[in-house]
């Protein structure tokens, strides 16, 4: 893409003594933190400001026109590194498949990874390195919405094509529209899609009298991790269930890596909710909450969990306490589509990890980038496009089949969601430590096991 990307500047018990020591400690920590990301990204490294291919990067002599340089970022380390590992495997598997089949308009895909460590500043810094030093053609990836909010600004400033895979928060959609970010598109449905999904699930359970449903008082208690993702999903879901006649008896925000929920659950239990609902991404925290919900014996109350309980590590951590819990996620792996694309077989050959929704989303992200760039005329065609041409190209593109549904970007840069022809929300019931796809009923592969709700 033709854009102006000139290299930016690289970017003792005495209390006074203690404060000094702590200051040094903090400085040391900061220095340690900076050490990773800025490696090779400083000023004065002699690379200059060359712009041989229009990307304005001094590493042009390393540039191979027969490659599509795809930058990808995600939480490769940190509290949700397990998810980052699955996502990385997803990008690798599909990139390898595309390369084996001749590449993107003849160009081989080369992946460049950036580790966000689940922190916005780190994510931005790591992606900046990809832009400045690695001369990437296009950016993919994402996970925590806070990180993505900082990265989209960077992409926008550099006119860098960016297709976000997994960040959900509606704040991202707002930023794209308000700042007219022509090069940025978002695959994962926004927070409101979770709200809509939970609202629909509760109504379906009411109608079909699933488990302890229907409830007379309709009381729900909500817990969210204190991230943009968690809070936005909780707020949207609260709105939807209130519209469906439910009373939200409490809303709690907890740290991402919290594992002791006993005082919160003690209070919630005294409020006699019919449903305890939570949204988390950290597997240890999700597993701990699920286990502690079961310990506190909520009687005829359901446990609903958004997203985190789809990770096998969270299910393992919860142990037998997880059985009977419901969880919704999107984007989620759609087995039928994965089979049709041959991605399930390729995955099994490449890794021992389970093919989770996280992995399927990243596989889809890679597949979508490959197909859109292919139809743009390959890397060369992509680099010749103006931001306006790229925007129109993506919006006009036919829906692309992926492992999570069909990706069809709309005028607002958000992929269509909520139906089987787009990106559906998938509901699972945990049964014997496995995720059973049980909702929406018309797509489900398993019946709900009612034996847990005696």
């Amino acid at each position: 893409m033709a854009r102006d990307t000139k290299r930016q500047p690289g970017a003792n018990s005495d209390r006074r003594n203690l404060l000094k020591l702590l200051g040094v400690g903090a400085t040391g920590a900061l220095a340690g933190c900076l050490g990773d990301d800025d490696d090779g990204n400083g000023n004065g490294n002699g690379n200059g400001n060359g712009n041989g291919n229009g990307n304005g990067n001094g590493d042009d002599e390393d540039r191979d026109d027969d490659t599509l340089r795809v930058g990808v970022y995600g939480p490769l380390t940190g509290p949700v590194a397990n998810i980052g590992e699955a996502k990385q495997a997803g990008w690798d598997v599909v990139a390898d498949l595309v390369n084996e089949e001749g590449g993107v308009d003849g160009a081989e895909i080369e992946l460049f990874y950036a580790d966000s460590e689940s922190e916005p500043g780190r994510g931005r810094s790591a992606v900046n390195r990809l832009v400045q030093d690695e001369n990437i053609d296009i950016l993919g990836g994402g996970y925590h919405s806070d990180v993505t909010l900082s990265v989209i600004e960077l992409a926008h400033e550099n006119d860098l094509p960016f297709i976000i895979d997994e960040s959900v928060s509606g704040a991202i959609n707002e930023a794209i529209i308000e700042q007219d970010m022509k090069t940025v598109f978002k695959t994962a449905p926004p927070s409101e899609a979770y709200g809509a999904a939970w609202g629909n699930l509760v109504e379906d359970f009411d109608e079909q009298e699933i488990g302890y449903f229907p409830f007379e008082n309709k009381r729900i208690a909500m817990i969210a991790e204190d991230t943009s993702y968690g809070i936005s999903v909780m707020d949207e879901t609260a709105q939807q269930v209130e519209d469906a006649g439910w009373e939200v008896v409490s809303k709690d925000e907890v740290p991402l890596d919290e594992t002791d929920f006993s005082p919160i659950l003690s209070r919630i239990r005294s409020e006699e909710p019919d449903v305890v609902w939570a949204v988390q991404t950290n597997s240890a925290g999700t597993g701990a909450l699920t286990e502690q919900f079961a310990e506190f014996d909520f009687g005829e109350a359901h446990f609903f969990h958004n997203f985190g309980l789809t990770a096998q590590e969270a299910i393992d951590r919860a142990g037998p306490a997880g059985d009977g819990a419901f969880t919704i996620v999107h984007p989620a792996a759609v087995p039928e589509l994965l089979r049709e694309l041959g991605w399930d077989e390729a995955w099994e050959e490449a890794t021992d990890l389970s093919l989770s929704g996280f992995a399927a989303t990243s596989m889809t992200n890679m597949g979508v980038i490959a197909e859109i760039v292919e139809n743009a005329g390959g890397p060369e065609g992509l680099n010749d496009m103006s931001p306006e041409e790229w925007e129109q190209h993506v919006i006009d593109h036919e829906p692309i089949k992926g492992g999570i549904g069909y990706v069809d970007f709309e005028e607002d840069h958000q992929a269509a969601w909520g139906t089987p022809e787009t990106i559906p929300s998938i509901g699972y019931q945990i049964v014997d430590g496995e995720l059973n796809f049980v909702w929406p009923f018309e797509l489900a592969e398993h019946e709900i096991d009612e034996s847990f709700y005696g």
Binding site: S13, L18, G25, G32, T77, G78, N82, G84, E313
Partner: protein
């Protein structure tokens, strides 16, 4: 109107959590009190203990062996840290600062090494027991109760060691006046090394015991260390008694506050309590006890 059951439940929740915090925080404050080292690798050593415990339990299903091995490995790690990392820095004009940077470095090395070897996968560990007691509608997690009593026992043994043994006398003397202690014939390097080992063994014990609650992964020590750090600030750096009181008090305040407020409200109250304590007694609870 708050029910008596809920109040008692929150007191129990706070007590159990406070015991966990105290176990980690006491070791951290001990080494400062004796050797004037703020060991920023304490969370990393907690993590090592958690891994040793997880692997031992997976291989032998023996909690006793896991605790023994976890404490032994982290004791050796602590002694080694003092002997090879901290001791060469002693005598420098800015020893305190150099020690912080050195232990920070060790923390990064431990965490990233474990990530390289074992990846970032979060490993689940079965608890000592999954038994739950429900007494008068009050839920008691037996695993947490056992952890609490082991923590109190370990801290009690530490108190006894410091108060009633010859080694403890040397430790107290070194904390009071290291130069005079040296002139009295006490082998200071050995005293520091063993104290460091005891401190890290307590962190290792916490890692083994809390693995089933926190899960086991390379950065698992980050949050417990942060909480322990806050507790030590309130309890008073170097004060084992103050740290114990602070850990239990803060955990109970948080739990009881959650009866009336959300998790965010409880955290605000907690930080307000911290500010109040430090304004009234800048040396923390330990300073207040001594005065």
């Amino acid at each position: 109107m708050v029910s008596v059951e809920l109040l008692v439940q929150q007191l129990i929740n706070g007590l159990f959590f406070g015991g966990q915090l105290a176990l980690l925080a006491v070791g951290f404050t001990l080494i400062w009190g004796v050797a004037r080292v703020l060991n920023f690798a304490h969370g990393g050593i907690f993590m090592i203990g958690a891994y040793v415990g997880a692997f031992t339990i997976a291989a032998t299903e023996s909690w006793l062996l896991a605790i023994a091995l976890g404490m032994a490995v982290t004791f050796v790690l602590g002694v080694g840290t003092e002997a090879f990392l901290i001791r060469p820095l002693r005598g420098r004009t800015e020893f305190d600062i150099a020690a912080i940077i050195a232990t920070l470095g060790l923390w990064f090395v431990l965490e990233h090494s474990m990530r390289l070897v074992f990846s970032s996968r979060q490993r689940s560990v079965d608890p000592i027991t999954r038994e739950i007691w429900i007494v008068q509608d009050i839920v008691i997690n037996v695993n947490r109760m056992i952890i609490f009593f082991i923590s109190i026992l370990a801290i009690g043994l530490l108190f006894a060691l410091i108060k009633y043994t010859k080694f403890g006398l040397a430790v107290r003397a070194a904390a009071e006046d290291d130069q005079t202690t040296k002139l009295m014939g006490v082998n200071l390097p050995r005293t520091y090394a063993i104290t460091f080992g005891i401190s890290t063994a307590l962190a290792g014990l916490a890692g083994v015991l809390l693995g089933p609650i926190f899960s086991v992964y390379p950065s698992v020590g980050d949050r417990p260390f942060l909480l322990a750090f806050i507790v030590v600030m309130i309890g008073g750096l170097g004060s084992v008694r103050g740290t114990l009181i602070a850990a239990i008090s803060l955990a109970i305040i948080r739990a009881v506050a959650l009866i009336w407020t959300s998790a965010e409200g409880a955290m605000i109250l907690l930080f307000a309590c911290m500010a109040a304590v430090l304004i009234v007694s800048p040396e923390g609870i330990g300073g207040w006890i001594e005065s």
